[in-house]
Symmetry: C2
Subunit: 220 residues, 2 copies
């Protein structure tokens, strides 16, 4: 059996790779709020395991092996299913689910996983729009089109939000930028703040927001 800790490292490595393409010691240290030295140590251990869970060469960053990726995806499946379950079955808001799921993900059984997946109807996405991996370790591509890249005149829909910070998510909710909300971009000046029509009113949205909200074409 793997420790919660090992699972957290693998998940963090997967997620860093997913949304920044590279996994450095310091990035991992920051995400896990531990000292860089601790990361080096732990990563070396993961690389020495049988089977190895990461590929690692000093000063060269880290990557998941197939075995490591499999485990990461299983933990992520737990996390996202739990988030959705908390939202759907227990009335949690999308800003509250992350912290709770973060702890539950390490302790639920496969049976629990199966039962909530069944209750939820084998869902494909969590409350933030992230794809839920299958039991077999397959994941759909997450939506990658940032709102900041939409051109004026287009009508789209919120498909995913990157950033689990409760304050940020609460703020988005106040703006009407909730999952699946339709919106129309009215002005999109070069590099400047977008004007967006959402939930009946028009807002100016800064980069801090539009870079973290991903959208898909309406009707998909």
């Amino acid at each position: 059996m793997l420790s919660s800790n090992t699972e957290d490292y693998l998940k963090a490595i997967y997620e860093l790779l997913e949304d920044s393409g590279r996994v450095t010691t310091s990035a991992l240290a920051e995400r896990l709020t531990v000292a860089p030295a601790s990361v080096t140590e732990m990563v070396q251990k993961l690389a020495r395991m049988q089977p190895a869970l990461v590929d690692y060469e000093r000063h060269r960053g880290v990557a998941l092996t197939e075995a490591g990726r499999k485990i990461a995806l299983e933990v992520i499946r737990h996390h996202r299913l739990i988030e959705l379950y908390l939202a759907e079955a227990l009335g949690y808001g999308w800003h509250e689910v992350h912290a709770e799921a973060e702890r539950l993900e390490h302790v639920i059984s496969e049976e629990f996983e199966d039962k909530i997946a069944a209750v939820l109807g084998q869902p494909a996405h969590d409350p933030h729009g992230d794809p839920i991996p299958t039991r077999e370790g397959e994941v759909a591509e997450p939506c990658r089109r940032a709102l900041s890249q939409v051109t004026a005149g287009e009508t789209v829909r919120v498909a995913r939000v990157r950033d689990e910070d409760p304050a940020f998510l609460t703020h988005l909710t106040e703006l009407g930028l909730v999952l699946r909300a339709p919106l129309r971009v009215t002005r999109a000046p070069e590099g400047g703040p977008l004007s967006v029509e959402v939930a009946g009113s028009t807002r100016e949205l800064e980069r801090a927001i539009t870079d973290h909200v991903f959208v898909e074409a309406v009707g998909v």
Copy 2:
């Protein structure tokens, strides 16, 4: 914040006290499946904490302080609420709930606790008939009348089962001895096996069973 470990020790101390009256180092070691030496060490630590969670003098056994009891009851509340939630909301059998709850109890938030308690309608008993402590740390007396002590001719109802062993619980289910099942004792020879009429058929039940099934008068 207390470690899961600390919580497990406090819970075990509470439960041993509850159903055998005395808490020895070796009993605790057996229940927690650790070496006696480890128990001694840990108990000393609990006694040194600020505030102290247990009263302890060498060779004299251990007892909970008010602070320790409070924590034990909170963990037990978590455990029993989770057990009931798994049974009611996710269709777990009463033989499956214990193992899952054992892990979940340490990681859920107060919010989670409140939400499932609300969904369940502030329940008073878990799937084994054990009373669920309140948020404030009060517990009802568990039912203490063993089936083995019922006299012939009496009609009673299963109110509680002591023993979380899945095989034992499955066996009880097969016998029709489920929670709240009404039953009638037809013969109760001195110290011998009871004859019991339950779910339409009559069975002979050995001591191993009748000592672990507790009953209450029908109509309560």
